[in-house]
């Protein structure tokens, strides 16, 4: 893995062996709006050489995805269109090519894979049919011959049991497997150019690692040129030969990957690179863990029944959270990390009483009861900030009303005092009181998350549960929101339960960490203990999988994961084996 194709292609881009396959010249993309024509991408120029991986990196709104869609001729009609410039491929100008000719290139010579594998495949069509359809659209052949080609493609993307996959429907496959199918579709006809638009953003970190490895192998094997669209500088560092940095529709900087990371020229590039959280050896915690914990969780268990049969009896159970224990101390950031489906969000929901659960949750030594009054009182001390701020804010209420609402529900203060409180909170999260009468859609993603934080603060909670609260934000915005959370914690003496899949963010932000896998904690300890001296195999895998913003990092051969197919669903009567722990160090527990 350490010897990548990049070394070759970077040094040899000028030779004739690597001719240009695609050139973009003075490309302008615009959108027609009621306010007139607005430019989205302006005079973009770049060349793509055969066999090279070109990363187009930037934050949301940079125009990187639009550029890729323009190459494919798939800009969303009728408003968004190419307003000028050329895209030269094979002596054709793709911007002027009629749809029928473009259709023949698409999927055959230029292929594309997308961000969201869960929705990229037709849910009511078998995998095999979706693959053969793509093949037969370009090369007339019998159904059987196409099936053989489809099978080859599935084998090329290292999908397990390829024969069986052909007969399955997309929902029967995991996200990583679906992304492999999408890649198989793209490579089936051996295209000259493959465009990957955030191909691993929606995937878990260990799956991302596998898909990135696969893309790297395939581009080398097939000599394909890859345009990789991403916001993740770690992915850029690992994959790219050359990098284009874009901002607000314009090219900011173009350089080969080592030069870019070693000596970024433009201020924007420098800012982008400095916002990327980097993994180190964990930070030391200053929290006093000898006092009574703020929150104490013992034997927390959440299961969901799966019923079936004529009498609707319980046939199996999903053991989402399986008898876990942890404490959160005053003034502490306690992080729960893990991949999707490990039960980390369910822990948050159980704490706030949003799902029925077993076990004891104590707040300042007092068990939280299950009756309505106790639950309501509980919401005064614990508040949540969710992942998607747009979905978490009611679009028909002003942001002022949204922040006042918790005070109204708990019957605190007068209308005037509530407005004063909301104004004060808005000032504190950096928005200013004059925006109270606006609606959520008038704000950017980062501002909306600040509004969610203001709402969570309204009741002066002791604990804020942040469930992937910064995951949907651009890195530079993410950095400022994390900074705000850090300041607020010190100012208001709060604690955080910080739930995340992002190891680098957790490592930089948390005092103590618990790593969850299949509903149980496999390793817990201070950030320095878990990241500096990871003991459990799963923790190590997570850390090793995280992309690293350093093009010179050497990869260790990946340990093969055989427990991908393990599931938290158990037949009725069976229970998962409860993990036993051994203590490595003061407060550092590892499952054995």
């Amino acid at each position: 893995m350490s010897m990548r194709a990049k070394t070759n292609s970077v040094t040899s881009v000028v030779t004739d062996e690597h001719p240009t396959v695609l050139s973009v010249r003075q490309l302008d993309i615009s959108v027609r709006t009621e306010a007139g024509i607005l430019p989205l991408v302006q005079s973009l120029n770049f060349d793509l050489k055969r066999g090279e991986t070109l990363a187009i990196a930037g934050e949301s709104g940079s125009g990187k995805s639009l550029t890729s869609l323009a190459i494919m001729g798939l800009l969303p009609p009728p408003a968004v269109h190419v307003a000028g410039g050329q895209i030269i491929f094979d002596d054709f100008d793709l911007t002027k090519l009629p749809e029928s000719k473009m259709q023949r290139l698409r999927g055959d010579r230029i292929a594309m894979i997308f961000q969201e594998p869960m929705t990229a495949l037709n849910p009511v069509m078998r995998i095999g049919d979706q693959l053969t359809e793509a093949i037969r659209a370009h090369e007339p052949m019998s159904g059987r011959a196409a099936r053989i080609r489809a099978l080859e493609a599935l084998k090329a993307v290292r999908l397990t049991e390829p024969e069986r996959r052909l007969k399955q429907f997309p929902h029967e496959l995991s996200g990583g497997m679906r992304q492999r199918v999408v890649i198989a579709m793209a490579i089936a006809l051996r295209p000259d150019v493959m465009i990957a638009d955030e191909p691993t953003t929606a995937l878990d970190v260990t799956v991302q690692r596998e898909v990135l490895d696969l893309l790297r192998i395939l581009t080398t094997e097939m000599g394909m040129a890859l345009i990789l669209i991403t916001h993740d500088m770690g992915v850029v560092a690992e994959m790219a030969d050359r990098v284009l940095i874009m901002q607000k529709g314009q090219l900011v900087e173009e350089a080969d990957v080592r030069t870019l990371f070693a000596a970024p020229q433009m201020p924007y590039t420098r800012k982008l690179l400095s916002s990327v959280p980097r993994m180190g050896k964990g930070r030391q915690s200053t929290v006093d863990t000898s006092m009574q914990p703020l929150i104490s969780v013992r034997d927390l268990q959440v299961t969901y029944d799966l019923r079936g049969g004529i009498l609707d009896r319980v046939q199996a159970r999903v053991h989402a959270v399986e008898k876990i224990n942890f404490d959160i101390f005053s003034g502490e950031t306690f992080a729960v990390v893990g991949e999707s489906g490990c039960g980390k969000s369910t822990v948050a929901r159980a704490l706030t009483g949003l799902v029925p659960h077993k076990g004891i949750i104590k707040f300042e030594g007092q068990p939280i009861l299950r009756d309505r009054a106790s639950q309501l009182a509980n919401t005064r001390v614990m508040q949540m900030v969710f992942q998607d701020p747009m979905a978490a804010l009611n679009g028909r209420m002003t942001v002022g009303d949204l922040v006042r609402e918790p005070l109204v529900i708990h019957n605190i203060g007068t209308p005037q005092s509530r407005t004063d409180r909301a104004a004060e909170l808005f000032e504190r999260v950096g928005l200013g009181a004059e925006v109270l009468d606006r609606y959520p859609h008038e704000f950017s993603g980062g501002q909306r998350q600040r509004i969610c934080i203001a709402r969570a603060l309204a009741l002066n909670p002791k604990l804020i549960i942040a469930d992937e609260s910064v995951s949907a934000l651009d890195v530079s915005v993410q950095a400022t929101v994390l900074e705000l959370l850090q300041e607020l914690k010190a100012e208001l003496n709060m604690s955080y339960l910080f739930i995340s899949h992002d190891m680098a963010v957790v490592e930089n932000f948390a005092d103590r960490v618990a790593v969850m896998y299949l509903g149980q904690i496999v390793e817990t300890g201070s950030s320095a203990q878990v990241f500096g001296n990871p003991q459990h195999q799963y923790t190590r895998r997570l850390i090793a999988a995280a992309p690293f913003p350093d093009p010179d990092r050497v990869f260790l051969p990946r340990e093969d994961s055989e427990d991908d197919l393990r599931s938290p669903i158990m037949a009725k009567g069976q229970t998962p084996k409860r993990l036993k722990y051994c203590s490595i160090d003061e407060g550092h527990l590892v499952a054995i």
Binding site: Q103, D108, M125, A137
Partner: protein, 306 residues
Amino acid sequence: MFAFVVKRLIQSVFILLGVSFITFALLYLLPADPVRQIAGRSATAETVANIRAQLGLDKPFIVQYARYFGNLVQGDLGRSYLQKTEVSTLIASRLPASLLLMLGAIVCELVLGITMGVVAALRRGTVTDNSLMMASFIGVSAPQFVVGLLMLYVFAVQLRWFPIGGYGTFAHMVLPSITLGILGSGWYSRMMRSSMIDVLRQDFIRTARAKGLGRMRVLMRHALPNAVLPIIAMIGIDVGIFMGGIVVVESVFGWPGIGQLAWQAIQRVDIPIIMGVTLVSACAIVIGNLVADIASLFADPRIKVR
């Protein structure tokens, strides 16, 4: 799958039980007196009392219902008060005509509704879209007897394309089917339009286009099968709406189905027929929904039965 069907059939027994009780109670509370209808105006009080006793209508409600229910579980729907024929025979002779009409209406509303919806979605925001949606709005809001009479006047009386009424050939079926289906086609075209617009925005449509498939293939193989999914479940509900519609449509077109039978029975307070038709309708709705649910299972592999 088997367990699912059995479970649903068990549920439907309770539904039918509820329907029979409520209908029976409503008819009992009705101010109209069936005995008066049978005996005629000039009958003496004695004759009336005799008939009442003979039919068991002098007994308390609960006794009457128990007797009816006892017969019902043995498959006996009773005899018509006026026609002196078994209700089951009457319904059996007329049910095929009604089912045929409903089938025609379903075909008509699906073809019309889906086509209109798809075209409107593809031409969103254009004059075509607006006129189609206006047409569907008229279809939804026009009373069926008006549509029926209008159809009769234009296509049967003026143009003489179709017969004025009756039953027998395919030509007889066309106008009543369209009249019955036009309401549903209005609904479906609107649902289909929004469902189609939704599906066309999905990622997998973009994937299909990125594969280099032609517009038509993307539409027929990828967009349409996904867009009709919400419609399939609706067809079951339609059977219920049809049951109301056939009473009107069959009267307008002289179609010899159970709608006409019910209409006549209601006018004459012929309680056993009203009960029989109601129960048969309830059965049809239950079966229609079951069939629609099973069809959804086949159309959408993601749905699992429990």
